[in-house]
Amino acid sequence: MDFAFMRDTFLTLMGGVPLTLNLAFTAVAFGAVFAMLLALMRMSRVKVLDWPAQAYVFVFRGTPLLVQIFLIYYGLGQFRPTLQEWGLWTFFREPYWCAVLALTLNTAAYASEIFRGGLQSVPHNQVEAARACGMSGFLLFRRIVFPIAVRQALPAYGSEIILMVKATSLASIITMMEVTGLAAKLISQTFRAVEVFIVAGLIYLILNFIITRIIMAIEWWLSPHLRRPPAIEPRLEAAHV
């Protein structure tokens, strides 16, 4: 194995990391807002709100992300005159924004189900207790429902963020030069697929490892009730020995 080549490859591919993270986090941030909206629509028990949200989730979870990206990037080109008229063409012309839009719409569908699960897992007696104390509406949501729901949903949402980091690789197909894009370019220039693959895979593993750790730290921070209580009076114990 050629280590000099692998080091160069590593340095080249690291150049794609900012774009990979940029795509992933922009999409996750916009997607989370949209997902929350979808989850609330699904839980509203109003048919006119519930039904479109359900259809949305079905469509975006049932079709490949690459089809969604192509539909937005190439497909909307068919309506170029109309989009130009509306002043939206500058947005849809850019592969970056098309990728972000597709990733956002996609993650929103998956995350909305995770959020819904979290919201539904909030024990009913907690809500009743809060109501008995006189909380209602937004205060109840902010103080009781939301914190418990976040705690429940976080592990699953963590995997969704990892999936998003992996999904950014598809942006390389519409010319975005993130890690996979650079890797594909290098492979087609050097024909050393195995080495480039190992380096690129390593970069993704490191990224995902760091993200997993961050999520675990947030989980730990959010669930003080599950932590072991700190040892009390260690000095006394020492005296016994």
Binding site: T63, V67, Y74, G75, Q78, S169, A183, A200, G201
Partner: protein
């Protein structure tokens, strides 16, 4: 030239792309199925390694599932496509052939899908194996069944029963992943839509058709997996 209507475009008439799209849909299903079955074999072996292997085998199996679930599928497909042709090229040059030898896109695709989905299926099988009651395995051993017979008669049928919901999820993943095989030039549904979109300059119409066909496959397979689950659970007492 007169603009064709949408239905003329994707229909089965002289200017329609209907047959091409239908064949490509069949190709999508074929490559996804082959990949899924390959993944079942890989997954079974890896799950076996995780459950019954020694320290070395177990850590190898753990490493495999961690790595394959942590890197983008597209990278794996590139590895198989370019790596496979590089390997074939090296073998070819031994026999005097020169230049780029392409590997069959179908085999590459099915193999890449198999390797990736194997990692997911291993976890599904391992989870399902935990549900099989220890007593039953002991009983099987005590009546003198050896490994293979026990696997065939006791373990496999029960693991499959509990694994069906998880396998259903993996199948959906595999189906969507098969769209990525289009980068290797295999004419499956997405690739065919891309070709049609290029030659008619009607990308939206074709990609939306592709999306609808994918939804249709998803929908039908969800139904089939539900049926299979109901069938496998017949005669089981349900806690309710």
């Amino acid at each position: 030239m007169q603009q064709l209507s949408y239905f003329e475009l994707v229909g089965f008439g002289p200017n329609g792309w209907g047959w091409a799209l239908l064949t490509a849909t069949g190709m999508t299903i074929a490559v996804a199925t082959c990949g899924f079955l390959a993944g079942s074999i890989v997954g079974t072996l890896v799950a076996w390694g995780k459950i019954g292997g020694n320290v070395v085998i177990r850590s190898l199996a753990d490493g495999y599932t961690t790595v394959l679930r942590g890197i983008p599928d597209l990278l794996v497909i590139y590895l198989f496509y370019f790596g496979g042709s590089a390997a074939l090229g090296a073998i070819g040059s031994l026999f005097g052939a020169e230049g780029f030898i392409g590997v069959p896109a179908f085999a590459t695709g099915a193999m890449a899908i198999g390797i990736v989905s194997g990692a997911y299926q291993a976890e599904v099988f391992r989870g399902a194996f935990q549900v099989v009651s220890r007593g039953e395995l002991e009983a099987a051993r005590s009546v003198g069944m050896h490994r293979w017979l026990m696997f065939r008669r006791i373990i496999a049928p029960q693991v499959l029963r509990y694994a069906i919901p998880g396998l259903g999820n993996t199948w959906q993943l595999v189906l969507k992943e098969s769209a990525l095989i289009s980068v290797t030039g295999l004419v499956e549904l997405l690739r065919q839509s891309h070709i049609a979109a290029g030659s008619t300059r009607r990308p939206f119409d074709f990609y939306i058709t592709a999306a609808v066909l994918y939804l249709l496959i998803t929908w039908v397979s969800t139904y089939l997996f539900q049926r299979a689950e109901a069938h496998s659970m017949r005669g089981m007492r349900r806690a309710s």
